[in-house]
């Protein structure tokens, strides 16, 4: 089996992540050792992945994830500050120099929901809407950029979970975060 040239980016990534079967992996390695262009494309892909990881670890990424991923961050030794305000309630929050990540657990009954949007009304940066976020039946796990939080003075963020079905929208959860700078 001979890998084509240039190897598709998808195949290079699958190789890097260990998703290819042994035969395809060996064939691609033969090709990569003989082909400077494909080797360079793989190096660029690896470089991009490393840069994404650096952004994450520097606290410059905001994204919606899952509880198992947060557990892995904690198991790796990162300091994770966690908030779980009740639906309809509020919580005082901050970020300290020791925090690597700040995570919000937004609990809500999401069984039967097909698409969920996150609507954020931030007294500092204004309104934002994140469409079609990841969720499970129990709620949403959102990582906030610690780099951004560290720039804030006192600020309030109102977060709503909005179920979307066709043209219909329904607010399922409403949470308020009162941010205070670390003293």
């Amino acid at each position: 089996m001979r890998a084509s040239c240039p190897s598709p980016a998808q195949e290079l990534l699958e190789y890097w992540l260990g998703e290819l079967d042994a035969e395809r992996e060996h064939a691609l390695e033969e090709h990569l050792f003989a082909c400077a262009a494909c080797s360079a494309r793989l190096a660029a892909l690896v470089d991009l992945g490393a840069a994404i990881r650096r952004e994450l670890l520097a606290g410059r990424c905001a994204f919606v994830t899952s509880a198992p991923f947060i557990r892995r961050l904690k198991e790796a030794g990162f300091h994770v500050r966690e908030y779980a305000p009740p639906a309809g309630g509020s919580v005082d929050c901050t970020v300290t120099p020791d925090d690597d990540f700040v995570v919000a657990y937004l609990e809500a009954p999401l069984g039967g929901v097909e698409r969920l949007d996150l609507v954020i009304d931030d007294s500092t940066s204004g309104k934002q809407r994140a469409n079609d976020v990841a969720f499970d039946a129990g709620g949403v796990v959102a990582v906030t950029s610690t780099a951004y939080l560290r720039t804030l003075r006192h600020s309030q963020m109102r977060v709503r979970l909005v179920a979307v079905q066709g043209v219909n929208e329904r607010v399922i959860g409403d949470y308020t975060f009162n941010h205070y700078p670390s003293t």
């Binding site: 980016a9 998808q10 990534l13 699958e14 190789y15 890097w16 992540l17 260990g18 998703e19 390695e29 033969e30 990569l32 050792f33 003989a34 400077a36 262009a37 080797s39 360079a40 793989l42 190096a43 660029a44 892909l45 690896v46 470089d47 991009l48 992945g49 490393a50 840069a51 994404i52 990881r53 650096r54 952004e55 994450l56 410059r60 990424c61 905001a62 994204f63 919606v64 994830t65 899952s66 198992p68 991923f69 892995r72 961050l73 996150l118 994140a130 469409n131 079609d132 976020v133 990841a134 499970d136």
Partner: protein, 206 residues
Amino acid sequence: MISLQHAAPYAPRMSLVVADEDDDGALARRIAARAPGRDAAAEAELCRRLGPRIRLYGLKHLRSEAAAADLMQDVLVMVLQKLREGAVREPERISSFVLGTARQTVVDWRRSGARRARILEAFPVDFAPQESDEERPEPLDAERLRDCLAALSERERAVLVMTFYDDRPADAVAAELKLTAGNVRVIRHRGLERLRGCMSRPGGEA
């Protein structure tokens, strides 16, 4: 961490007396033909070309920058030694020989638990592979990457971050996001394409 930055600075670049169009096999034949003498320029050029590929292989299989650098050094030394001894039967297929040597070295390291044989002491070399312009990507603009990541869809960003945090395959990311592996592959591919497109545009517009 995986980085393509080298752990130690390389030696100054030697003046090359090889043509750019010489393929890897032609360089290997030159080295073998000069034995027991040395063709230092051909050796340096071969190392410049193959060194980054060995390091990449090392990063993939050893997931350690230091181990990958060790692997590169050890494999290059062993390959040059074999070429000088005339022990490479098909120099024109040098890339296959290098890959085989890298594979066997990784197997040996895993079997023995040894990380670093002191082969360099027994076989000193006065060269080191250099950064290959053709194989070294431009450094990424971190600020642009931040903007481009922010411009992705929520799911694309989540999948890419969760994938590259520790180089997780699609099925593992899928299990954490309650998606199928196929879904994750589609989102990952689309996200990467959009990210690379954004990064390559002047100004980085998403």
